[in-house]
Symmetry: C2
Subunit: 412 residues, 2 copies
């Protein structure tokens, strides 16, 4: 598998420091299933009454743990989350379903809670049977070592080929009471040989009813994780789960439109977006972090689809890797998105500089003015498609020799 | 722009030799608009009464010549085709429409025919105004030099960053009379810096009514050009036009279901598929020609979409570049296609060897058995998705460092 990958040049300068969060306790273990000398198994245990919500991959070949979570989310309550790194338990047929059932049964027994309140996530190799013994045999010990402060270990335990752990935190007030939101994530595209997936877990000590938490998470994911792309390859295992323990003592929120939720929603969105950006910043081979803002689309969903078409275009991504303000390729991508756009009113700004307007090159545009922006590692592209009021921002990274090397040169 | 690109390692061993084809005369010229020392302008003149049909890009940012052709195809008759290489006349606003009108008017005058029977195609840089003077000034001379045998020159004149000219030919009998089908094409993805596009032109001396020719072309393109992909980037200029001169003296075909058309349809399909394969074989940086056959889909259209999702997956393409039979990535791509697939009945064969069946790895599969196939330059992947009778085959190439070098390292 070659050497351990170098830390992404786009990694945050420092890791976020996550405070203890009432109602959540963590522990990690080394099973050696795939990785050596590092934790690869995470247990998060929750106080009784913790709400859960989730957004799962739309892949038709979803993994066994994704199917398990989809089924159990209906209950709205969580007792524990277990995540293993190195084996995705995807495309494993009946053996995969059996592995999930065994893991949940053993963990429920260890913690003394109901199987249906156990949530599971796995990432790594696709198509390899998951041996549950290395996980089951460590559960009792992990339950003994649960700690409220093991956030850095937790973020590391879920990594596969990530080059840095991903953590984010924020606070907000609900009815005068401060609540905390902690999040961890992993992923850098559909990742290196045989690896799959983006995982995100958000925890709060606010008290939020399951259906309200679900509405909040769905909306937040749409504008964060679902608005990012590294290589356009949807994995079999993508999972974002949110857990609300209620331990901060703030009043329980039972209505999605409760005005007391406003500041919390902003803080929650901030954590999701921060984690999603960190995943993009760890994109395989990435050297540029790219924000693409679309305005003037038919509606917000159309704007997001146009943005993602630009963000997934290999020609746009390679042009940016080459520091080339190649707006012709942006036009091409808008055209191929299939969404309404008025070619004769299309305008494009790169790094704030107008390069095209009213469907043709801006007569005042000189390429040299945009060169300093293209040489930086944060690229901003703004496109107005001239038909409506829909807007969206999406984020991606460039496509470089590093991506090819990671995915082609190293055999799994 | 760096050195001239090396001939693709997947190029056909020899170029097809196209015979003269009654009713079609060709000439080329060097305008020096972008390229030096090579022809970059093609004129094809047709006998009176020639039928025309076309399939044009679905891009919402289609070029001015594409818009012109879309409008004029309704007439069903063609007097001439002019193609320039180096400037796509796309995203050029009113100036682009004016350039198209001027070119058509001048050519109609030169040849003494109606403007609406003139067809135009342009590929190359997007967003640069097209100067018509270099074309208009050469028309009279080109009309003087029209020749029935200039097929190799014609195929070269339409190239942009292609590494080899693309030609194909076939014959068939209609009511005992031999008719010929000649085709030329250009393209290798959305091509190198600022370049755009796939063009294909098919000519026959059969006599075929415009609506029959259109039905035939639409169906053939669906299973050839539209079943191939290099980088998934739809260009602003993609154009396939078919011309039927009737000069062979075979009876005119006025019904799409005429049984006398059967052998002709097969030959016509063969020419389209041959040209489409040549475009893939000239894919930027390509080292492997990949055929992906899908069976068991809901219907043929679903099968084609699944096939194209696999063919466009950067993770599948990089795995093949790395000679890695990474079927987990094929599963991922089937899952992300959004089409119905029965995960528990999915089976995959690579190079004829069963690697996965019934939704899990084939217990008899040993990776070493597929290694010789992965080392070759023709890769076959067969996927059965287990839900219906829909089938399709699509073709693509691998994603290599060469693609990144062509599109990122060389600045336009």
């Amino acid at each position: 598998m070659g050497d351990a990958p170098k830390r992404s040049p786009l990694a945050p300068k420092r890791l976020a420091v996550l405070p203890a969060l009432g109602g959540v306790a963590l522990s990690v273990a080394e099973t050696g299933m795939k990785y050596r000398g590092r934790p690869d198994l995470l247990l998060a245990a929750f106080d009784k009454g913790t709400s859960v919500a989730g957004v799962l991959t739309r892949s038709k070949a979803s993994s066994a743990p994704v199917d398990w979570c989809r089924d159990k989310l209906a209950g709205g309550r969580a007792c524990a989350l277990m995540v293993n790194a190195g084996n995705a338990n995807a495309f494993t047929g009946k053996a995969g379903r059996r592995a999930v059932n065994e893991t949940a049964a053993a963990l429920a027994k260890t913690l003394g809670c109901r199987q249906r309140d156990i949530f599971l996530a796995s990432t790594g190799v696709i198509g390899e049977p998951l041996d549950t013994q290395p996980m089951v045999s460590r559960m009792a010990d992990m339950a003994q070592r649960l700690s409220p402060s093991a956030w850095p270990d937790a973020a590391r335990a879920i990594m596969t080929t990530d080059t840095f752990p991903k953590l984010a935190t924020a606070t907000a007030k609900i009815a005068g009471k401060t609540v905390t939101i902690n999040g961890i994530a992993k992923g850098s595209g559909m990742i290196a040989p045989d690896m799959a997936t983006m995982l995100g877990f958000v925890f709060t000590d606010a008290a939020i009813a399951p259906d309200v938490l679900q509405a909040l998470l769905t909306s937040s994911v749409e504008r964060s994780f679902n608005a990012t792309t590294v290589d356009g390859d949807t994995s079999t295992s993508d999972t974002v789960l949110a857990f609300a323990t209620g331990a901060a003592g703030a009043p329980e929120i039972n209505q999605a439109n409760d005005p007391r939720l406003r500041a919390f929603t902003k803080a929650f969105d901030r954590v999701c977006l921060d984690l999603a950006h960190q995943v993009v910043r760890d994109g395989e081979g990435a050297t540029k972090f790219i924000a693409i803002e679309i305005a003037g689309a038919e509606d917000d969903a159309a704007a997001r689809r146009i943005g993602l078409t630009i963000a997934n275009s290999p020609l746009v991504k390679t042009a940016i890797a080459g520091q080339d303000a190649n707006w012709g390729r942006v036009v091409m991508a808008v055209g191929k998105s299939g969404e309404a756009a008025d070619r004769d009113r299309l305008s494009i700004r790169i790094g704030g500089i107008s390069v095209a307007k009213k469907g043709a090159i801006d007569p005042d545009y000189e390429e040299k003015t945009v060169v300093p922006h293209m040489k930086g590692d944060e690229i901003d592209i703004h496109v107005h498609v001239g038909v409506g009021r829909g807007r969206a921002t999406v984020w991606t990274c460039d496509l470089t020799h590093g991506y090819i090397s990671i995915n082609a040169d190293y055999r799994s």
